[in-house]
């Protein structure tokens, strides 16, 4: 068993007075892929966004409980959300490259962290693009606009951009839901490679995808974590009836 990277304890989240997450306690292991599944509105994306405090940006949100990353509560008063997000990167559902060149997209994070040495930046950009398995496709047009890339390439570029900040954890919010099957399988291969070095948590609607890429799976329903365990077990012998109903397609 790998070590625990993220531990949540009785984590609840409210939008105003409406409860969106109900006392989630979960131990997410290091350098593995953990998939979060469940029907729309079940709280899986909301949960994902609590892990890098992206929910802080929504004024009406209130959070109770704890999220421990490497043993430190990220909701502690002394924790700076900006620094946290350098450690906990995020890839979004819709690829969202900046209207800048491919190079500048990847260099954005390092530059913000004060790296301006041209040689160093070049190294980081090249390394990140390689790790995101898109280097070969873009190496001859690094200074073209990122918006000229295909949807799948844009998403891999966004992954490269996240890697450039050198995070330890990568959150992925349905990263392949808007992509064609070929681009999707490229992203999945990439996730498989990345887990050697990174702890990955992926929200997905696609159960085959969860089964293919993840080591652990958590099933969310109506703001609660119904079941969490090894993917193999969840997909073959789930303990809860609701989990079984969902993965066999009886609802959701």
């Amino acid at each position: 068993m790998k070590e625990t990277k993220i531990k949540t304890r009785n984590l609840s989240l409210y939008y105003g007075s409406k409860m969106a997450l109900n006392s989630i306690s979960m131990d997410i292991p290091e350098k593995q892929v953990t998939a979060l599944i469940g029907p729309s509105g079940c709280g899986k994306s909301t949960f994902l966004r609590t892990l890098n405090r992206m929910n802080d940006l929504i004024p009406s949100v209130r959070i109770t409980g704890e999220v421990l990353v490497d043993g430190f509560n990220i909701y502690d008063k002394n924790v700076d959300a900006v620094n946290l997000r350098k450690k906990v990167g995020m890839v979004f559902q819709k690829s969202n490259p900046f209207a800048k060149s491919i190079f500048e997209n990847v260099a954005y994070g390092p530059k913000i962290n004060g790296i301006h040495d041209k040689k160093k930046l070049k190294e980081i950009v090249e390394g990140s693009l390689q790790r995101a398995a898109i280097w070969e496709e873009v190496k001859d047009r690094l200074h073209d606009s990122a918006l000229g890339l295909s949807g799948g390439q844009q998403q891999r570029l966004c992954i490269a951009r996240t890697l450039a900040v050198d995070p330890e954890i990568i959150l992925m919010d349905e990263p392949a839901s808007a992509l064609d099957p070929i681009s999707t399988s490229k992203i999945e291969e990439l996730i498989f490679k990345l887990k050697v070095n990174y702890t990955i948590i992926i929200v997905t609607h696609n159960m085959q995808q969860a089964a293919r890429v993840s080591d652990n799976t958590g099933f969310f329903y109506l703001g609660e974590l119904i079941e969490f365990g090894k993917t193999k077990k969840i997909f073959t012998v789930p303990e809860k009836k609701q989990t079984e109903d969902y993965i066999t397609g009886r609802f959701g």
Partner: protein, 287 residues
């Protein structure tokens, strides 16, 4: 009903066409390179409009230098920092809307009372031993007064373009560990560039044509020299049209000059508005 709407449409088009035709016919023979680049002469019955053109240009430049940063910062506050429901944001929104409804002559009076009497008077008293330097109409006070008038145009335009920058891009930047300010500087403002430009152009176009605000704050009837200091008065196109058609020694004789000056002013504002529309439609398409 069809008849009434048809008539209205015809009427509106007719008004524009007649206005343009009359101005073009009246002014086309007088407009020339020389007309644009020489001073008036013979008691302003002959010659060109160079100082009015120059004064208007200088005024809108100073005005933009004041209005654009100030307006952009206000728009940034409203879109990025204030909560929409907060007391402060509502007050600022209300102030901006009200400002855009205030008649321009009131801005003129405000400029006279505030900039000339209060600020200028204070400066003269404190820095120049009561000597009369700043407590009189000049291009600086006129430009600042005009900046107040055009501020809502800038604010609304920049606000609109900032709101058009997709949420996704801000999220992407923040998720990479950028601070809010870094995100604004590197993602939001570059994305809103064309809106800022449109706002500036629309403000210039509005400011170039207004007369009332500069009436008491800096516009001069006639000056033999161009303004070379912020404390100098200036001539302006709009005001030039006004005095040529009401206070000229011979209104009939100067008719061609009036038409030509009007044509220049119209061309100027039309061109500016056209450019603004172009940029704005390009902006809309890119989102």
């Amino acid at each position: 009903m069809m008849g009434a709407t048809g008539l209205s449409v015809v009427l509106i088009i007719a008004v524009i066409v007649i206005m343009l035709v009359v101005i073009v016919i009246g002014g086309k023979d007088t407009i020339s390179w020389k007309f644009l680049t020489t001073f008036p002469k013979d008691g302003m019955t002959k010659g060109g409009i160079f100082p009015a053109l120059y004064g208007t240009a200088l005024m809108v430049i100073i005005m933009s230098v004041a209005a654009v940063p100030f307006g952009a910062i206000t728009a940034l506050y409203l879109t990025e920092y204030a909560r929409e429901s907060s007391w402060m944001a509502k007050t600022v929104q209300f102030a901006v809307r009200t400002l855009s409804m205030v008649p321009s002559i009131i801005f003129g009076l405000f400029g006279l009372g505030f900039f000339i009497k209060f600020v200028g008077g204070g400066m003269d008293k404190v820095f120049f031993g009561g000597q009369l330097i700043w407590a009189q109409p000049n291009i600086l006070w006129a430009s600042l007064t005009m900046a107040l008038l055009t501020l809502p145009v800038v604010i609304v335009s920049v606000e609109e373009s900032i709101r058009a920058v997709p949420r996704d891009l801000r999220d992407a930047s923040l998720a990479l560990g950028a601070t809010k300010w870094q995100t604004i500087r590197k993602v939001v403002l570059p994305g809103a560039r064309s809106g800022i430009l449109t706002g500036t152009i629309l403000a210039i176009s509005r400011g170039a044509g207004e007369v009332a605000p500069i009436l008491f704050t800096g516009a001069a009837y006639y000056l033999a020299t161009l303004p070379h200091s912020l404390s100098d008065q200036f001539m302006s196109l709009g005001y030039h049209i006004y005095i040529m058609s009401t206070q000229s020694v011979n209104v009939d004789q100067t008719l061609p000059i009036q038409f030509a000056t009007t044509l220049v002013l119209l061309l100027l504002t039309f061109t500016l508005n056209f450019v603004a529309v172009l940029i704005r439609s390009k902006l809309r398409r890119s989102h």
